[in-house]
Symmetry: C2
Subunit: 99 residues, 2 copies
């Protein structure tokens, strides 16, 4: 399992629209090969910041399998209009013994 | 539920020791009021960076209940020696419909 970790800043006037758009975007990403789960959370200290956590079977399922597929453009077409700048995306792997 | 989100940079020579220390520290935090779960993951793009995700029943269970208790000092005594700088800690709340 690889965890995609994305910090997304959303325009202050677009929180509700972004959250609705993510429910549609989730249907797109959930159909991708290697997709495991998706969680979206909103910042307590920074209300415009959202934390997106997506579990993938492997790094490549995200970085090439999904990102280089037409589905990625569809995913972004739902949520991208509400971004305030580019998301910060990186990946994390489980530590043995600390699931 | 509130998610504590901590980005921890660990000294390059201390990864293995930090991971063992976290298994001990977990026993301390798991006994705290309002603790739900703990996950530790290591950075793919930045190997010295760890992502710690702790679920709490409420924000206050972490920020006052745990941090202001003697258990916090014990928790930090296990893992703090391996930090390279101060962790970046913030909190996130679930978004309705996107658990």
């Amino acid at each position: 399992m690889i965890l995609e970790h994305a910090l997304i800043t959303v325009r202050p006037d677009a929180h509700a629209e972004f959250e609705v758009a993510m429910t549609k975007a989730r249907e797109v990403i959930a159909a991708a090969h290697g997709f495991g789960s998706l969680r979206l959370l909103s910042g307590v200290e920074s209300p415009d910041r959202y934390l997106l956590l997506v579990e993938w079977d492997s790094l490549e399922d995200h970085t090439t399998g999904f990102r280089e597929s037409p589905a990625f453009l569809e995913w972004r077409s739902h949520i991208g209009p509400f971004f305030d700048g580019q998301p910060e995306v990186d990946h994390y792997a489980p530590v043995a013994g600390l699931p």
